[in-house]
Protein backbone atom coordinates (compact mmCIF):
# COMPACT_ATOMS: atom_id res chain seq x y z
CA UNK A 1 0.00 0.00 0.00
CA UNK A 2 1.87 3.04 -1.24
CA UNK A 3 1.89 6.22 0.83
CA UNK A 4 0.71 8.24 -2.17
CA UNK A 5 -2.18 5.92 -3.01
CA UNK A 6 -5.85 6.56 -2.34
CA UNK A 7 -5.94 3.26 -0.41
CA UNK A 8 -3.41 4.59 2.07
CA UNK A 9 -5.44 7.76 2.64
CA UNK A 10 -8.56 5.63 3.31
CA UNK A 11 -6.60 3.26 5.57
CA UNK A 12 -5.12 6.17 7.52
CA UNK A 13 -8.54 7.81 7.93
CA UNK A 14 -9.98 4.56 9.33
CA UNK A 15 -6.99 3.99 11.61
CA UNK A 16 -7.16 7.56 12.98
CA UNK A 17 -10.93 7.33 13.55
CA UNK A 18 -10.59 3.92 15.25
CA UNK A 19 -7.70 5.16 17.41
CA UNK A 20 -9.51 8.21 18.79
CA UNK A 21 -12.83 6.37 19.19
CA UNK A 22 -11.17 3.64 21.27
CA UNK A 23 -11.24 4.12 25.06
CA UNK A 24 -8.01 5.78 26.17
CA UNK A 25 -6.40 2.84 27.94
CA UNK A 26 -6.77 0.61 24.83
CA UNK A 27 -5.60 3.10 22.19
CA UNK A 28 -2.22 1.47 21.84
CA UNK A 29 -4.00 -1.82 21.05
CA UNK A 30 -5.82 -0.15 18.14
CA UNK A 31 -2.51 1.15 16.85
CA UNK A 32 -0.98 -2.32 17.18
CA UNK A 33 -3.89 -3.87 15.21
CA UNK A 34 -3.64 -1.12 12.56
CA UNK A 35 0.08 -1.87 12.12
CA UNK A 36 -0.46 -5.55 11.52
CA UNK A 37 -3.42 -4.95 9.19
CA UNK A 38 -1.21 -2.53 7.21
CA UNK A 39 1.64 -5.03 7.08
CA UNK A 40 -0.63 -7.93 6.08
CA UNK A 41 -2.20 -5.85 3.29
CA UNK A 42 1.16 -4.50 2.07
CA UNK A 43 3.65 -7.23 2.89
CA UNK A 44 1.37 -10.28 2.89
CA UNK A 45 3.07 -13.59 3.68
CA UNK A 46 6.34 -11.86 4.58
CA UNK A 47 4.79 -10.99 7.88
CA UNK A 48 6.42 -14.16 9.26
CA UNK A 49 9.86 -12.48 9.05
CA UNK A 50 8.60 -9.48 10.99
CA UNK A 51 7.17 -11.85 13.59
CA UNK A 52 10.46 -13.78 13.84
CA UNK A 53 12.37 -10.55 14.51
CA UNK A 54 9.80 -9.45 17.09
CA UNK A 55 9.83 -12.80 18.93
CA UNK A 56 13.64 -13.10 19.07
CA UNK A 57 14.01 -9.47 20.13
CA UNK A 58 11.40 -9.97 22.85
CA UNK A 59 12.95 -13.17 24.21
CA UNK A 60 16.49 -11.76 24.20
CA UNK A 61 15.60 -8.41 25.77
CA UNK A 62 13.44 -9.91 28.53
CA UNK A 63 16.25 -12.38 29.30
CA UNK A 64 18.79 -9.52 29.42
CA UNK A 65 16.46 -7.54 31.67
CA UNK A 66 16.10 -10.46 34.10
CA UNK A 67 19.85 -11.00 34.12
CA UNK A 68 20.48 -7.31 34.85
CA UNK A 69 17.99 -7.34 37.75
CA UNK A 70 19.55 -10.46 39.30
CA UNK A 71 23.05 -9.11 38.80
CA UNK A 72 22.15 -5.82 40.47
CA UNK A 73 20.81 -7.63 43.50
CA UNK A 74 23.81 -9.95 43.79
CA UNK A 75 26.30 -7.11 43.22
CA UNK A 76 24.70 -4.97 45.94
CA UNK A 77 25.19 -7.83 48.40
CA UNK A 78 28.76 -8.64 47.34
CA UNK A 79 29.92 -5.05 46.77
CA UNK A 80 31.40 -4.53 50.25
CA UNK A 81 33.59 -7.62 49.98
CA UNK A 82 35.07 -6.70 46.60
CA UNK A 83 38.10 -4.51 45.93
CA UNK A 84 38.53 -2.48 42.71
CA UNK A 85 39.95 -5.44 40.78
CA UNK A 86 37.18 -7.70 42.09
CA UNK A 87 34.54 -5.24 40.89
CA UNK A 88 36.20 -5.10 37.48
CA UNK A 89 36.26 -8.89 37.22
CA UNK A 90 32.59 -9.06 38.28
CA UNK A 91 31.65 -6.53 35.60
CA UNK A 92 33.64 -8.37 32.92
CA UNK A 93 32.07 -11.70 33.87
CA UNK A 94 28.56 -10.23 33.68
CA UNK A 95 29.31 -8.64 30.30
CA UNK A 96 30.43 -12.05 28.98
CA UNK A 97 27.17 -13.62 30.18
CA UNK A 98 25.10 -10.87 28.55
CA UNK A 99 26.96 -11.31 25.28
CA UNK A 100 25.86 -14.95 25.19
CA UNK A 101 22.31 -13.64 24.82
CA UNK A 102 23.06 -10.61 22.66
CA UNK A 103 25.23 -12.18 19.98
CA UNK A 104 22.90 -15.06 18.93
CA UNK A 105 19.98 -12.60 18.67
CA UNK A 106 22.07 -10.20 16.55
CA UNK A 107 23.35 -13.03 14.36
CA UNK A 108 19.86 -14.42 13.82
CA UNK A 109 18.31 -11.11 12.81
CA UNK A 110 21.16 -9.69 10.76
CA UNK A 111 21.54 -13.22 9.36
CA UNK A 112 17.98 -13.15 7.99
CA UNK A 113 18.67 -9.75 6.45
CA UNK A 114 22.00 -10.93 5.00
CA UNK A 115 20.60 -14.14 3.51
CA UNK A 116 17.56 -12.46 1.95
CA UNK A 117 19.43 -9.43 0.69
CA UNK A 118 22.91 -10.64 -0.20
CA UNK A 119 22.87 -14.39 -0.94
CA UNK A 120 22.23 -13.98 -4.69
CA UNK A 121 25.02 -11.37 -4.90
CA UNK A 122 27.52 -13.55 -3.01
CA UNK A 123 26.73 -16.79 -4.86
CA UNK A 124 26.66 -15.00 -8.22
CA UNK A 125 30.11 -13.53 -7.64
CA UNK A 126 31.47 -16.82 -6.33
CA UNK A 127 30.24 -18.53 -9.51
CA UNK A 128 32.04 -15.90 -11.59
CA UNK A 129 35.21 -16.47 -9.58
CA UNK A 130 34.92 -20.25 -9.96
CA UNK A 131 34.47 -19.86 -13.71
CA UNK A 132 37.59 -17.66 -13.95
CA UNK A 133 39.62 -20.14 -11.93
CA UNK A 134 38.36 -22.99 -14.07
CA UNK A 135 36.54 -24.67 -11.18
CA UNK A 136 33.52 -26.55 -12.51
CA UNK A 137 31.32 -25.99 -9.46
CA UNK A 138 28.28 -23.78 -9.83
CA UNK A 139 26.36 -22.72 -6.75
CA UNK A 140 22.58 -22.37 -7.06
CA UNK A 141 21.39 -18.76 -7.13
CA UNK A 142 18.84 -18.04 -4.44
CA UNK A 143 16.90 -14.90 -5.18
CA UNK A 144 14.52 -13.84 -2.43
CA UNK A 145 11.90 -11.16 -2.44
CA UNK A 146 12.63 -8.69 0.34
CA UNK A 147 10.01 -8.40 3.09
CA UNK A 148 8.57 -4.89 3.35
CA UNK A 149 10.76 -2.59 5.45
CA UNK A 150 13.18 -5.34 6.57
CA UNK A 151 16.25 -3.06 6.45
CA UNK A 152 14.44 -0.55 8.64
CA UNK A 153 12.66 -2.70 11.23
CA UNK A 154 15.72 -4.95 11.67
CA UNK A 155 17.89 -1.93 12.48
CA UNK A 156 15.23 -0.44 14.76
CA UNK A 157 14.76 -3.65 16.77
CA UNK A 158 18.48 -4.43 16.95
CA UNK A 159 19.16 -0.88 18.17
CA UNK A 160 16.63 -1.50 20.94
CA UNK A 161 18.25 -4.88 21.75
CA UNK A 162 21.68 -3.21 22.12
CA UNK A 163 20.17 -0.45 24.27
CA UNK A 164 18.75 -3.10 26.63
CA UNK A 165 22.12 -4.90 26.62
CA UNK A 166 23.80 -1.61 27.54
CA UNK A 167 21.11 -1.12 30.23
CA UNK A 168 20.11 2.21 28.76
CA UNK A 169 16.44 1.20 28.55
CA UNK A 170 14.30 -1.25 30.48
CA UNK A 171 13.01 -4.13 28.35
CA UNK A 172 9.35 -4.01 27.32
CA UNK A 173 7.72 -7.07 28.92
CA UNK A 174 4.40 -6.81 27.07
CA UNK A 175 4.89 -8.67 23.77
CA UNK A 176 2.15 -6.76 21.91
CA UNK A 177 3.63 -3.41 23.01
CA UNK A 178 7.04 -4.43 21.70
CA UNK A 179 5.43 -5.59 18.44
CA UNK A 180 3.81 -2.14 18.19
CA UNK A 181 7.18 -0.42 18.59
CA UNK A 182 8.79 -2.55 15.87
CA UNK A 183 5.93 -2.29 13.37
CA UNK A 184 4.56 1.29 13.59
CA UNK A 185 3.05 1.52 10.10
CA UNK A 186 4.02 5.04 8.99
CA UNK A 187 7.71 4.34 9.56
CA UNK A 188 8.10 0.62 8.79
CA UNK A 189 8.30 1.12 5.01
CA UNK A 190 11.28 3.47 4.80
CA UNK A 191 12.01 4.82 8.26
CA UNK A 192 12.99 6.96 10.04
CA UNK A 193 14.71 4.34 12.19
CA UNK A 194 13.27 5.01 15.64
CA UNK A 195 14.89 4.71 19.06
CA UNK A 196 13.01 3.01 21.87
CA UNK A 197 13.58 5.79 24.41
CA UNK A 198 12.24 8.42 22.01
CA UNK A 199 9.37 6.55 20.36
CA UNK A 200 7.95 3.78 22.58
CA UNK A 201 6.33 5.96 25.23
CA UNK A 202 4.61 8.04 22.54
CA UNK A 203 3.12 4.87 21.05
CA UNK A 204 1.94 3.42 24.36
CA UNK A 205 0.41 6.54 25.94
CA UNK A 206 -3.21 7.46 25.16
CA UNK A 207 -2.77 10.48 22.90
CA UNK A 208 -5.59 13.03 22.87
CA UNK A 209 -7.12 14.19 19.60
CA UNK A 210 -5.88 17.63 18.59
CA UNK A 211 -7.23 19.63 15.66
CA UNK A 212 -3.96 21.61 15.48
CA UNK A 213 -1.88 18.43 15.28
CA UNK A 214 -4.16 16.93 12.64
CA UNK A 215 -3.92 20.11 10.57
CA UNK A 216 -0.13 20.20 10.82
CA UNK A 217 0.05 16.47 10.07
CA UNK A 218 -2.05 16.80 6.92
CA UNK A 219 0.00 19.81 5.81
CA UNK A 220 3.20 17.81 6.21
CA UNK A 221 1.73 14.90 4.28
CA UNK A 222 0.69 17.22 1.45
CA UNK A 223 4.17 18.73 1.37
CA UNK A 224 5.68 15.23 1.23
CA UNK A 225 3.31 14.22 -1.58
CA UNK A 226 4.23 17.42 -3.45
CA UNK A 227 7.95 16.62 -3.21
CA UNK A 228 7.35 13.03 -4.30
CA UNK A 229 4.68 13.37 -7.00
CA UNK A 230 5.28 16.82 -8.48
CA UNK A 231 9.07 17.05 -8.23
CA UNK A 232 10.66 13.59 -7.86
CA UNK A 233 8.38 11.62 -10.17
CA UNK A 234 8.55 14.36 -12.83
CA UNK A 235 12.33 14.68 -12.98
CA UNK A 236 12.55 10.86 -12.83
CA UNK A 237 11.38 10.73 -16.47
CA UNK A 238 14.41 12.74 -17.60
CA UNK A 239 16.84 10.98 -15.26
CA UNK A 240 15.66 7.53 -16.40
CA UNK A 241 16.11 8.46 -20.05
CA UNK A 242 19.73 9.56 -19.61
CA UNK A 243 20.80 6.80 -17.21
CA UNK A 244 18.98 4.23 -19.36
CA UNK A 245 21.29 5.00 -22.30
CA UNK A 246 24.70 5.85 -20.83
CA UNK A 247 26.42 5.41 -24.20
CA UNK A 248 24.12 7.86 -26.00
CA UNK A 249 24.38 10.80 -23.64
CA UNK A 250 27.56 12.58 -22.67
CA UNK A 251 28.81 15.94 -21.44
CA UNK A 252 26.17 18.20 -19.96
CA UNK A 253 23.51 15.50 -20.30
CA UNK A 254 25.28 13.45 -17.62
CA UNK A 255 25.72 16.52 -15.41
CA UNK A 256 22.00 17.33 -15.76
CA UNK A 257 21.08 13.70 -15.01
CA UNK A 258 23.29 13.64 -11.90
CA UNK A 259 21.81 16.87 -10.60
CA UNK A 260 18.32 15.69 -11.57
CA UNK A 261 18.83 12.45 -9.66
CA UNK A 262 20.00 14.40 -6.59
CA UNK A 263 16.68 16.28 -6.70
CA UNK A 264 14.69 13.13 -7.48
CA UNK A 265 16.05 11.01 -4.64
CA UNK A 266 15.72 13.87 -2.15
CA UNK A 267 12.11 14.55 -3.19
CA UNK A 268 11.33 10.85 -3.17
CA UNK A 269 12.91 9.89 0.15
CA UNK A 270 12.30 13.05 2.17
CA UNK A 271 8.80 13.26 0.65
CA UNK A 272 8.06 9.74 1.90
CA UNK A 273 9.46 10.61 5.32
CA UNK A 274 7.29 13.75 5.47
CA UNK A 275 4.20 11.67 4.69
CA UNK A 276 5.21 9.21 7.45
CA UNK A 277 5.91 12.00 9.94
CA UNK A 278 2.64 13.78 9.04
CA UNK A 279 0.62 10.57 9.49
CA UNK A 280 2.32 9.93 12.85
CA UNK A 281 1.65 13.52 13.93
CA UNK A 282 -2.10 13.03 13.46
CA UNK A 283 -1.87 10.27 16.11
CA UNK A 284 0.11 12.65 18.37
CA UNK A 285 3.45 10.94 17.70
CA UNK A 286 6.59 12.82 16.72
CA UNK A 287 9.01 10.82 14.59
CA UNK A 288 12.71 11.54 14.62
CA UNK A 289 14.08 13.98 12.08
CA UNK A 290 15.62 12.25 9.06
CA UNK A 291 16.62 15.22 6.87
CA UNK A 292 17.91 18.70 7.49
CA UNK A 293 18.28 20.33 4.09
CA UNK A 294 21.21 18.12 2.98
CA UNK A 295 22.02 20.04 -0.20
CA UNK A 296 22.87 23.13 1.86
CA UNK A 297 25.67 21.16 3.57
CA UNK A 298 29.12 22.73 3.47
CA UNK A 299 31.13 19.49 3.56
CA UNK A 300 30.65 15.75 3.08
CA UNK A 301 30.55 15.03 6.87
CA UNK A 302 28.02 17.86 7.14
CA UNK A 303 25.99 16.28 4.31
CA UNK A 304 25.86 12.95 6.16
CA UNK A 305 24.74 14.74 9.32
CA UNK A 306 21.79 16.10 7.32
CA UNK A 307 20.92 13.13 5.05
CA UNK A 308 19.18 10.01 6.39
CA UNK A 309 20.05 11.21 9.88
CA UNK A 310 18.61 8.22 11.74
CA UNK A 311 20.66 5.70 9.73
CA UNK A 312 23.84 7.74 10.30
CA UNK A 313 23.06 8.01 14.02
CA UNK A 314 22.44 4.25 14.19
CA UNK A 315 25.83 3.47 12.66
CA UNK A 316 27.49 6.11 14.86
CA UNK A 317 26.11 4.73 18.12
CA UNK A 318 26.17 1.00 17.40
CA UNK A 319 29.17 0.60 15.06
CA UNK A 320 31.44 3.66 15.03
CA UNK A 321 31.75 4.23 18.80
CA UNK A 322 32.13 0.56 19.77
CA UNK A 323 34.80 0.16 17.07
CA UNK A 324 36.74 3.34 17.65
CA UNK A 325 36.65 2.97 21.47
CA UNK A 326 37.58 -0.71 21.35
CA UNK A 327 40.85 -1.75 22.94
CA UNK A 328 42.24 -2.62 19.51
CA UNK A 329 41.74 0.84 18.03
CA UNK A 330 42.79 2.62 21.23
CA UNK A 331 46.06 0.66 21.14
CA UNK A 332 46.42 1.34 17.44
CA UNK A 333 46.03 5.05 18.17
CA UNK A 334 48.80 4.92 20.79
CA UNK A 335 51.14 3.02 18.47
CA UNK A 336 50.23 5.35 15.63
CA UNK A 337 51.23 8.37 17.68
CA UNK A 338 54.57 6.74 18.39
CA UNK A 339 55.40 5.85 14.79
CA UNK A 340 53.36 8.24 12.64
CA UNK A 341 53.30 11.34 14.80
CA UNK A 342 50.71 12.87 17.10
CA UNK A 343 48.35 14.18 14.39
CA UNK A 344 47.91 10.99 12.33
CA UNK A 345 48.10 8.73 15.42
CA UNK A 346 45.22 10.55 17.06
CA UNK A 347 43.17 10.25 13.89
CA UNK A 348 43.65 6.50 13.37
CA UNK A 349 40.92 5.35 15.81
CA UNK A 350 38.57 7.72 14.00
CA UNK A 351 39.54 7.23 10.37
CA UNK A 352 39.49 3.43 10.07
CA UNK A 353 36.15 2.91 11.88
CA UNK A 354 34.70 5.80 9.88
CA UNK A 355 35.77 4.13 6.65
CA UNK A 356 34.24 0.84 7.83
CA UNK A 357 30.98 2.62 8.68
CA UNK A 358 30.68 4.12 5.20
CA UNK A 359 31.52 0.80 3.62
CA UNK A 360 28.65 -0.73 5.64
CA UNK A 361 26.30 2.15 4.77
CA UNK A 362 27.09 1.43 1.11
CA UNK A 363 26.26 -2.27 1.52
CA UNK A 364 23.12 -1.41 3.49
CA UNK A 365 21.73 0.21 0.33
CA UNK A 366 21.88 -3.00 -1.66
CA UNK A 367 23.70 -6.09 -2.84
CA UNK A 368 25.56 -4.72 -5.83
CA UNK A 369 29.13 -3.70 -6.52
CA UNK A 370 27.98 -0.14 -7.20
CA UNK A 371 26.80 0.24 -3.59
CA UNK A 372 30.15 -1.04 -2.34
CA UNK A 373 31.83 1.50 -4.64
CA UNK A 374 29.49 4.19 -3.23
CA UNK A 375 30.51 3.27 0.33
CA UNK A 376 34.21 3.31 -0.53
CA UNK A 377 33.78 6.65 -2.37
CA UNK A 378 32.13 8.33 0.63
CA UNK A 379 34.49 6.72 3.15
CA UNK A 380 37.48 7.93 1.12
CA UNK A 381 36.08 11.47 0.89
CA UNK A 382 35.55 11.60 4.65
CA UNK A 383 39.03 10.25 5.41
CA UNK A 384 40.72 12.59 2.91
CA UNK A 385 38.65 15.49 4.25
CA UNK A 386 39.88 14.86 7.79
CA UNK A 387 43.49 14.32 6.78
CA UNK A 388 43.68 17.44 4.65
CA UNK A 389 41.51 19.73 6.78
CA UNK A 390 44.40 21.34 8.61
CA UNK A 391 46.77 21.73 5.62
CA UNK A 392 43.95 23.21 3.51
CA UNK A 393 43.04 25.70 6.21
CA UNK A 394 46.68 26.75 6.43
CA UNK A 395 46.78 27.16 2.66
CA UNK A 396 43.62 29.28 2.70
CA UNK A 397 45.19 31.52 5.35
CA UNK A 398 48.35 31.91 3.28
CA UNK A 399 46.28 32.87 0.25
CA UNK A 400 44.31 35.33 2.42
CA UNK A 401 40.99 33.66 1.58
CA UNK A 402 38.17 34.96 3.77
CA UNK A 403 36.14 32.12 5.24
CA UNK A 404 33.52 34.09 7.12
CA UNK A 405 31.59 35.41 4.13
CA UNK A 406 28.67 34.33 1.92
CA UNK A 407 30.81 33.63 -1.16
CA UNK A 408 32.97 31.11 0.74
CA UNK A 409 29.90 29.35 2.08
CA UNK A 410 28.39 29.28 -1.41
CA UNK A 411 31.62 27.77 -2.72
CA UNK A 412 31.50 25.12 0.04
CA UNK A 413 27.86 24.26 -0.71
CA UNK A 414 28.50 23.94 -4.47
CA UNK A 415 31.68 21.90 -3.94
CA UNK A 416 29.78 19.51 -1.64
CA UNK A 417 26.91 19.27 -4.11
CA UNK A 418 29.30 18.31 -6.94
CA UNK A 419 30.90 15.59 -4.79
CA UNK A 420 27.48 14.29 -3.73
CA UNK A 421 26.23 14.32 -7.34
CA UNK A 422 29.24 12.24 -8.43
CA UNK A 423 28.32 9.74 -5.71
CA UNK A 424 24.74 9.69 -7.01
CA UNK A 425 26.02 8.77 -10.49
CA UNK A 426 27.63 5.69 -8.89
CA UNK A 427 24.38 4.52 -7.31
CA UNK A 428 22.03 5.42 -10.18
CA UNK A 429 24.06 4.12 -13.14
CA UNK A 430 23.39 0.50 -14.13
CA UNK A 431 26.79 -0.61 -12.79
CA UNK A 432 30.25 0.50 -11.70
CA UNK A 433 31.57 0.34 -15.30
CA UNK A 434 28.68 2.44 -16.59
CA UNK A 435 29.14 5.09 -13.90
CA UNK A 436 32.87 5.35 -14.67
CA UNK A 437 32.02 5.63 -18.38
CA UNK A 438 29.43 8.35 -17.70
CA UNK A 439 31.80 10.36 -15.52
CA UNK A 440 34.49 10.13 -18.21
CA UNK A 441 32.10 11.09 -20.99
CA UNK A 442 30.86 14.02 -18.90
CA UNK A 443 34.36 15.47 -19.06
CA UNK A 444 35.55 14.24 -22.45
CA UNK A 445 32.44 14.79 -24.63
CA UNK A 446 31.44 18.25 -23.59
CA UNK A 447 28.06 18.21 -25.31
CA UNK A 448 26.03 21.36 -24.62
CA UNK A 449 23.11 20.51 -26.97
CA UNK A 450 20.92 19.95 -23.95
CA UNK A 451 20.84 23.70 -23.30
CA UNK A 452 21.20 25.29 -26.71
CA UNK A 453 19.75 22.86 -29.29
CA UNK A 454 16.55 21.91 -27.48
CA UNK A 455 18.09 18.73 -26.10
CA UNK A 456 16.28 19.17 -22.82
CA UNK A 457 12.98 18.64 -24.64
CA UNK A 458 14.04 15.26 -26.03
CA UNK A 459 14.25 13.58 -22.62
CA UNK A 460 10.56 12.90 -22.02
CA UNK A 461 9.46 16.21 -20.48
CA UNK A 462 7.78 18.94 -22.54
CA UNK A 463 7.86 22.72 -21.99
CA UNK A 464 5.00 22.61 -19.50
CA UNK A 465 6.61 19.84 -17.44
CA UNK A 466 9.95 21.63 -17.35
CA UNK A 467 8.30 24.84 -16.15
CA UNK A 468 6.34 22.99 -13.45
CA UNK A 469 9.53 21.26 -12.36
CA UNK A 470 11.52 24.49 -12.29
CA UNK A 471 8.88 26.44 -10.34
CA UNK A 472 8.37 23.54 -7.90
CA UNK A 473 12.11 23.44 -7.25
CA UNK A 474 12.00 27.19 -6.57
CA UNK A 475 9.25 26.59 -3.99
CA UNK A 476 11.29 23.77 -2.41
CA UNK A 477 14.43 25.92 -2.31
CA UNK A 478 12.55 28.88 -0.79
CA UNK A 479 11.04 26.71 1.95
CA UNK A 480 14.45 25.10 2.61
CA UNK A 481 16.17 28.50 2.90
CA UNK A 482 13.44 29.70 5.27
CA UNK A 483 13.90 26.60 7.44
CA UNK A 484 17.67 27.02 7.34
CA UNK A 485 17.16 30.52 8.76
CA UNK A 486 15.14 28.98 11.60
CA UNK A 487 11.68 29.93 10.34
CA UNK A 488 9.06 27.30 11.22
CA UNK A 489 7.04 27.40 8.00
CA UNK A 490 3.84 25.70 9.17
CA UNK A 491 3.74 27.80 12.35
CA UNK A 492 4.35 30.97 10.32
CA UNK A 493 1.51 29.99 7.98
CA UNK A 494 -0.81 29.35 10.95
CA UNK A 495 -0.35 33.00 11.98
CA UNK A 496 -1.63 34.31 8.63
CA UNK A 497 -5.26 35.22 8.18
CA UNK A 498 -7.85 32.62 7.27
CA UNK A 499 -8.32 33.55 3.58
CA UNK A 500 -4.62 33.52 2.80
CA UNK A 501 -4.17 30.14 4.51
CA UNK A 502 -7.03 28.58 2.55
CA UNK A 503 -5.69 29.93 -0.74
CA UNK A 504 -2.40 28.17 0.09
CA UNK A 505 -4.15 24.90 1.08
CA UNK A 506 -6.31 24.88 -2.07
CA UNK A 507 -3.28 25.66 -4.25
CA UNK A 508 -1.38 22.79 -2.58
CA UNK A 509 -4.18 20.26 -3.15
CA UNK A 510 -4.77 21.39 -6.74
CA UNK A 511 -1.07 21.37 -7.55
CA UNK A 512 -1.03 17.72 -6.48
CA UNK A 513 -4.13 16.85 -8.51
CA UNK A 514 -3.10 18.82 -11.60
CA UNK A 515 0.66 18.51 -11.57
CA UNK A 516 1.28 15.19 -9.81
CA UNK A 517 2.63 12.51 -12.13
CA UNK A 518 -0.09 9.95 -12.88
CA UNK A 519 -0.81 7.68 -15.78
CA UNK A 520 -0.70 4.07 -16.92
CA UNK A 521 3.07 3.73 -16.66
CA UNK A 522 3.22 5.42 -13.32
CA UNK A 523 3.47 3.44 -10.11
CA UNK A 524 3.34 5.62 -7.02
CA UNK A 525 4.48 2.71 -4.89
CA UNK A 526 7.97 3.03 -6.26
CA UNK A 527 9.57 4.92 -3.43
CA UNK A 528 13.28 4.38 -4.02
CA UNK A 529 14.22 3.72 -0.39
CA UNK A 530 11.40 1.22 -0.02
CA UNK A 531 13.61 -1.07 -2.12
CA UNK A 532 16.58 -0.80 0.28
Amino acid sequence: MAFTSFRFVIFLAFAVAAYFLTPKRCRWVTLFVANYVFYLISGGKFFVYLLATTVTTYVATVRLGNMAAKNKEAFTKAKETLDKEGKKAWKADFTRKKRRVLIPALLFNFGILAVLKYSAFVTGNLNLLFAKLGIGTELPLFRFLLPLGISFYTFQSMGYLIDVYREKVEPERNFAKLALFISFFPQIVQGPIGRFNALAEQLYRPNEFSYERMKFGIQLMLWGAFKKMVIADRVAVMVDTIFGFPETFGGCYVAVAALGYCIQIYGDFSGGIDIAAGAAQIFGITLEKNFERPYLATSIPDFWRRWHITLGAWFRDYVFYPLSLSKFFMKLGKKGRKFLGNYVGKLLPVLIPQFIVFFLIGIWHGAEWKYIAFGVYNGSLIVLGILFEQPLQNLAKKLSIRMDCFSWRLFQVLRTLVLVALGKIITRAPGVGASAYMMRSMVENWDTDIFFQGGLLTLGLDHKDLWIFFLSCCVLLTVSLMQEKGIAVREALAKQNLYFRWVIYICAVFSLILFGMYGLQYDASDFIYRGF
Binding site: R166, K168, R316, F320, Y321, P322, K346, P349
Partner: protein, 75 residues
Protein backbone atom coordinates in the same frame (compact mmCIF):
# COMPACT_ATOMS: atom_id res chain seq x y z
CA UNK B 1 39.25 19.55 36.62
CA UNK B 2 42.16 21.71 35.43
CA UNK B 3 43.56 18.82 33.43
CA UNK B 4 40.14 18.27 31.89
CA UNK B 5 39.89 21.92 30.84
CA UNK B 6 43.37 21.72 29.34
CA UNK B 7 42.44 18.61 27.34
CA UNK B 8 39.23 20.22 26.11
CA UNK B 9 40.79 23.51 25.06
CA UNK B 10 43.65 21.71 23.32
CA UNK B 11 41.13 19.55 21.48
CA UNK B 12 38.88 22.40 20.41
CA UNK B 13 40.45 25.81 20.99
CA UNK B 14 37.56 27.43 19.10
CA UNK B 15 34.87 26.32 21.59
CA UNK B 16 33.92 28.22 24.72
CA UNK B 17 33.47 25.37 27.22
CA UNK B 18 32.65 27.34 30.33
CA UNK B 19 28.92 27.48 30.99
CA UNK B 20 28.07 25.59 27.77
CA UNK B 21 25.47 22.93 28.59
CA UNK B 22 24.86 21.71 25.03
CA UNK B 23 28.27 20.70 23.79
CA UNK B 24 26.90 17.61 22.01
CA UNK B 25 23.24 18.53 21.52
CA UNK B 26 24.27 21.96 20.23
CA UNK B 27 26.72 20.41 17.75
CA UNK B 28 29.93 21.88 19.27
CA UNK B 29 31.47 18.43 19.74
CA UNK B 30 31.04 15.83 16.99
CA UNK B 31 31.73 12.10 17.07
CA UNK B 32 35.38 12.60 16.04
CA UNK B 33 35.93 15.00 18.93
CA UNK B 34 34.30 12.55 21.33
CA UNK B 35 36.60 9.70 20.28
CA UNK B 36 39.70 11.89 20.60
CA UNK B 37 38.47 13.23 23.96
CA UNK B 38 37.79 9.71 25.28
CA UNK B 39 41.31 8.63 24.31
CA UNK B 40 42.79 11.57 26.20
CA UNK B 41 40.56 11.05 29.26
CA UNK B 42 41.40 7.32 29.48
CA UNK B 43 45.10 8.14 29.40
CA UNK B 44 44.97 11.07 31.82
CA UNK B 45 42.71 9.50 34.45
CA UNK B 46 43.48 5.79 33.91
CA UNK B 47 39.84 4.88 33.30
CA UNK B 48 37.98 2.85 30.70
CA UNK B 49 35.21 4.61 28.79
CA UNK B 50 33.13 2.26 26.67
CA UNK B 51 30.59 2.83 23.94
CA UNK B 52 27.90 2.38 26.64
CA UNK B 53 29.03 5.62 28.28
CA UNK B 54 28.78 7.63 25.07
CA UNK B 55 25.48 9.39 25.53
CA UNK B 56 25.00 13.15 25.03
CA UNK B 57 24.17 13.63 28.73
CA UNK B 58 27.71 12.55 29.65
CA UNK B 59 29.39 15.04 27.30
CA UNK B 60 27.05 18.03 27.15
CA UNK B 61 29.04 20.11 29.65
CA UNK B 62 32.40 20.19 31.40
CA UNK B 63 30.64 19.25 34.65
CA UNK B 64 28.96 16.24 33.02
CA UNK B 65 32.31 15.02 31.63
CA UNK B 66 33.91 15.55 35.03
CA UNK B 67 31.08 13.60 36.73
CA UNK B 68 31.59 10.73 34.28
CA UNK B 69 35.34 10.67 34.99
CA UNK B 70 34.72 10.63 38.74
CA UNK B 71 32.08 7.91 38.47
CA UNK B 72 34.41 5.70 36.43
CA UNK B 73 37.28 6.33 38.84
CA UNK B 74 35.10 5.17 41.73
CA UNK B 75 33.85 2.03 39.92
Amino acid sequence: MEALMRILTELRPDVDFEGNKELVDGGELDSFDIVSLVGELCEEYDIEIGADDIVPENFNSVEAIWNLVQKLQED
